[in-house]
Subunit: 553 residues, 2 copies
């Protein structure tokens, strides 16, 4: 316990012997290197980067903004010499997993947002090479303008989120390229001593297959730089999907909670045999409700969590199921038709709703024509709701899912999803990985729901069939950051959820700073090996101390 | 240069201070640990493990054969203490890439062949958990008996090759699960100090998703243990493919050499958009000829390489093209039909030959009925030739491709492919990775063919579209190990091929011991980082010194 506590104090962020004077001197050097506009220490900036959707924010020592790799190399050298601790962020949209903030106090945030070049597009082999500052929206527009017939994958983190950042945190999206690790090919990494490492074949001069073959020759190092603090990734190759001849989105609504097992067990064989190749998202009613409304405190008589009767009522009003799935089918026209048939057969008697461009456009036109009557207005509403999700299934970035972050915020819901930090959203993700079987999904719901409820929270949950065999179960604690008692309850709820899930064998796919102390639970050897590699690559502990670096139990 | 030379001498394999007496004592300890039958130092055994298909074999100090992980842990501890160097092999069928031999003299070969348990089968989620001694044939028979509806992937290394070994060397096969790294989920690794590391989620007690989700949480370490010397892998999870509703193999014969570019550029879009999901192999005439015949020294008047007119003549006799492709389509009946149509459209006017179970059985019956006439005998011959390759496309192990290893051996070709070492086969693979475009393939052929010819060798070549964007070009130097002048020429040819390919930006996907000195060519930082990790995980350099550990240039 002593060890853990000392591990979490800011004192750890200072090298032995490094003084405040050393730090000030280093910041001056950085100011000369990057220009004074790119070394920020004013209170407003530090406050801004110190905000969190979690329980406790951190206060950085400074924010620095390099413009290219050579500057990053030089800045890690300066930082290393002066005992400064660096915390690189790409765009800082790591909502609910630490946001833009460093994981410990007193670190220098390295904001890579200015490094936003799309360095290469290869339309024939389907890839781009991008820097960390490139946002989802930026790449989307670039590909639209290039008319290269390639689709990207987008996530729920919104148009301003970084693609590199999301990939390194092993985020996932909705298209067949939803597993971002699998579409990443070749990393440029600045190491703690300023050297530049290129992974895969990238370290060979003139390497032809650098962006098309992931492993290179010899050990494959890419895995070291996702969810870690072993280097600063300044460039990656990202594979893109050829626009399919045909595309159909499908939506499923399962009225009863008990339908969860059935729907997973029926979809899984189709995921395993490749009939369904996109990430399939299966969200409960609360996931959908929280994306469309804010918590109806008035109708709930101020009580939390949502009373069961009101929950059922909202389900009816929004015409959604207890569980709601979405996914897509890409391929030739015949291939899509064939997969649709297979899906219908597997789900019978549940009937999926298929949507494609034609159908969506038609509904839109119909809604406009019939705008004078109730049916028309309802249809317009439906189209408006389906459109962003439909777009996501085609890799089109949208702000819509960010609405969910503000579920428990006690302000009126704006039309456009706000920045969760501006909106005082409290958001902590709890996201265990689950084998793709109904039994496992039910077991996880059985563990988390009572804990959420006990602490006064709802349990919005999505099971995403991210690969052929596994689902990420994404649930979240939503609270109002302005209410200290809710913040405290959220912290306690997180602890309990986390402990229970580790105990049952369901560690998370990803975690924010709060999760660090949990990471060693029930683990053996692994984190010691990671620590040894950290020591070998970053002996002065310059890069992101504390990030995926759990303190000893 | 001095550094390099000293790097390759056996002296490097002895820790400072470790003496022959220490080694002898350690071998006694190992003998007590494993039983005397499993610690072999007799000359015949050492000779056997010292053989090579390459230029220079190595002589081990001993061969030890642990039976389970705990024994491996204890043996690395004993070895580390006494300065013994260990070289783990799974089944030792690493043909043409070092075979069963250690990469430096004086190492103790750890033969993991006795660890041959299939520890778990999960038919619902499609995976097995296996030890290094499990052979391709063993798993194939196990799956047949279990009737679980799952297919494995098999390689050209033959039925006795280890699946773990092949996966760790990043070998590949012929089915949609041909990229073995992608089907590996969760490794158990014995580290140099005897600790056991479980990757992915495997280090968490009771981890439910261990075998279905690769990345775990925190950095992903699996990549460190393929093509490396950082640990001894004692167990892996291996994903298996659900048997498809329908299956069709396809074969393509392109008469002219110039057809290579066309065929790649037409297949690539189908590979990229997912119409074709299996590894597609495109072999030249020499690849096929060398698998079916031995070098016709008599018809060539003793000359090498094969005279162009004779080469064309053999092509006609075997009714093959200058380039010959094979691949498969798996899916529903409609899906397969649809992909067949797309393939025909893309290749027009070249017409692929489709083969499925029905058609093959029919041809077999027909050949038996018509056995009395020439047509029947020809048909029987054709069926016999196609069957093993057809089987490989369905993941059925076969010895047939091993025939190719003995192309230049001056003995009559036996019916059953012999062990390449028994047959005096000289075999060195040269296998650059190439972006999947015709232009790149042509460039590589343009580099290697003149070099092969200059040294008196043919250039059998296969371009395997192993992923959606890249091909492994697999070529090999074939020679007769009994002829010193051929062995020497092979060595010179390898040096020249290797240098030319690195220079042009085509490093190999994999290499044997001869390739180690080449690995740093044109490379920066990467190998230093690998060296630092090696030092962190294996400070006494106990495991496979020299393996994927290139000496400084």
């Amino acid at each position: 316990m002593l060890l853990m506590t000392s591990g979490m104090t800011p004192s750890r962020s200072q090298s032995a012997g490094a003084s405040a004077a050393d730090h000030a001197h280093a910041l001056e050097q950085l100011s000369r290197l990057l220009g004074p506009d790119n070394v920020l220490t004013d209170a407003a900036t530090l406050d801004r980067y110190g905000r969190t959707t979690g329980v406790r924010g951190t206060r950085p020592l400074a924010v620095v903004r390099p413009a290219h790799t050579a500057e990053v190399q030089e800045l890690v050298r300066i930082a290393g010499g002066a005992g400064l601790k660096l915390y690189p962020i790409s765009r800082g949209r790591n909502w609910g997993y630490g946001d833009a903030g460093a994981w410990e106090d007193g670190q220098v945030i390295v904001d890579l947002g200015r490094m936003n070049q799309i360095c290469e597009l290869n339309a024939q082999l389907g890839y781009v090479v991008i820097e960390p500052g490139v946002t989802a929206q930026q790449l989307y527009e670039y590909l639209q303008q290039a008319r290269c017939g390639l689709w990207m994958d987008a996530t729920g983190a919104g148009p301003e989120a970084s693609l590199v950042g999301n990939t390194l945190d092993r985020g996932f999206g909705h298209t067949p390229y939803g597993d971002h690790v699998l579409s990443c090919c070749g990393m440029e990494v600045v190491l703690a001593d300023g050297r530049v490492l290129n992974t895969g074949f990238g370290h060979y001069q003139n390497a032809q297959a650098h962006r098309v073959y992931r492993y290179g020759v010899g050990p494959s190092l890419d895995g070291l730089f996702s969810q870690s603090n072993l280097g600063i990734v300044t460039r990656i190759g990202l594979w893109l999907m050829p626009e399919p001849e045909d595309f159909a989105a499908f939506f499923l609504f399962v009225p009863e909670d008990e339908g969860l097992e059935r729907i997973i067990d029926r979809l899984e064989p189709l995921r395993l045999d490749g009939t369904l190749r996109s990430a399939i998202h299966i969200g409960n009613d609360l996931r959908v409700i929280s994306a469309r409304l804010r918590y109806p405190f008035d109708r709930a008589g101020g009580k939390t969590p949502l009373p069961p009767e009101l929950r059922r009522q909202l389900r009816r009003e929004l015409r959604i199921g207890a569980w709601n799935a979405s996914g897509s089918i890409c391929g030739t026209r015949r291939g899509v038709a064939d997969a649709r048939r297979a899906l219908c057969r597997a789900l019978h008697p549940i009937r999926p709703l298929f949507v494609n461009d034609r159908r969506l456009a038609l509904a839109g036109r119909l809604a406009r024509w019939l705008g004078f009557c109730l049916f028309g207005r309802r249809l317009a509403e439906q189209v408006e709701l389906v459109e962003p999700l439909y777009g996501l299934l085609k890799g089109i970035p949208t702000n819509e899912p960010l609405h969910g972050a503000t579920w428990r915020v006690r302000d009126p819901r704006p039309r456009v999803a706000p920045d969760p930090l501006d909106a005082h959203a409290g958001l902590i993700w709890v996201s265990p990985v689950v084998p793709s079987t109904g039994r496992h999904a039910r077991e996880v719901m059985g563990i988390i729901e009572p804990i959420y409820h006990r602490h006064g929270f709802d349990a919005p949950a999505t099971f995403t069939m991210i690969t052929e065999r596994a689902m990420c179960c994404v649930t979240n604690i939503s609270f109002d950051r302005r209410l200290p008692e809710e913040v405290e309850a959220a912290g306690r709820c997180y602890e309990e959820l986390s402990d229970a899930l580790y105990r049952a064998g369901y560690p998370p796919y990803r975690t924010g700073p709060m999760g660090m102390r949990k990471l060693r639970q029930g683990s053996e050897v692994f984190w010691d090996v990671v620590g040894a590699i950290k020591k070998a690559l970053d002996p002065h502990n310059t890069i992101s101390p504390g990030r995926y670096e759990p303190p000893a139990l």
